[in-house]
Symmetry: C2
């Protein structure tokens, strides 16, 4: 194996760190968010210190406005927070340094949102189905009666599903998931590197 000069080492380090950031950005799309969210997450994470909009803009080569937009989104997603730095009047942003916690934040924030929107719709539809049911008379065609029945059953399934998601979110948020899928579990695959 060839030995590397110091300059080459620095290049290699930078390149490796960038690749990690890139991959974090990529993976973020699995959560349905823009890759820039992931890129900022990666940059701040690898920086290991809170960063300002200006430093982020410099690092990414993007406009400060965009940084502001993305950071706001990240605050809403609960994967970043403002951090007070005395002596500076710029806002500093930091991210959770634990990968799994970030996963959980994203997962729970996203799905809580979904659950809430769906519960609302479910309630409204339930009312309308009830009204339909009350409008059924002996003269109502069987086909219609059946469709109302089907729709009502659908709402039951719907509700059961979102209730399940709700409990699932809880399972993650409370940390119970770690009781059954611990962070340092048995490796599923062989792993060739020495510790």
């Amino acid at each position: 194996m060839e030995s590397l000069s110091n300059d080459r080492l620095l290049e290699e380090l930078q390149s490796a760190e960038d690749q990690i950031t890139d991959r974090i950005a990529d993976n973020m799309e699995t959560f349905g968010v823009s890759s820039t969210v992931g890129r900022l997450l990666g940059i701040i994470y690898m920086n290991r210190e809170a960063m300002t909009l200006d430093s982020l803009a410099e690092e990414t080569g993007m406009s400060k406005t965009r940084m502001s937009q993305v950071m706001r989104q990240m605050l809403a997603l609960n994967i970043a927070e403002k951090e007070f730095v005395k002596g500076s009047r710029k806002e500093h942003y930091n991210v959770e340094s634990d990968y799994a916690q970030t996963f959980i934040s994203l997962f729970t924030t996203n799905w809580k949102d979904v659950v809430s929107r769906n519960m609302t719709l479910e309630r409204r539809l339930r009312e309308r189905v009830d009204q339909m049911s009350h409008s059924v008379t002996d003269a109502t065609p069987t086909e219609i009666v059946e469709r109302i029945e089907t729709l009502s059953n659908e709402l039951d399934a719907w509700q059961a599903y979102y209730n399940w998601i709700d409990r699932l979110v809880d399972f993650f948020e409370s940390g119970k998931i770690f009781d059954h899928v611990p962070i340092h579990g048995n490796q599923k695959e062989d792993n060739h590197h020495e510790k």
Copy 2:
């Protein structure tokens, strides 16, 4: 409460069913896929019978080409399958009718992908870090040595994380999740409708 005519009932039914489909489409974005994927999922699901590209195109008002593209994507995501229908030479597509199963399919398919991509990168980076480590001599600046050390630790964290996700996927795929978060669990919230 006002009673509804049959025509009005049919309108109401259609409107309610459409809203359900729309919401399914919306929610699908949480998985990071196009809402058209969700729309087709909803349409086929509500149809309760396998559908052809032509019927989907008619239902959505979109081109058959697009239907073909989306169905292919859905097959890849494991949330739809071809179903043979004798007498017809068109291909018929059906979807899983169980919401939770669909959730699990999407979740596991997406994350398996991510895990695999990351494990690959991790292996490659590990090799490079090893080479860097071997290039360190007494003359190497402390700063560089430390960065290499940090990077190596980072890869450990990285690996632990993706290994966790891997086991998490397993936890869902094997159905163990249902032992701890059952489909019909205790309702977390009050629920005003009579069964």
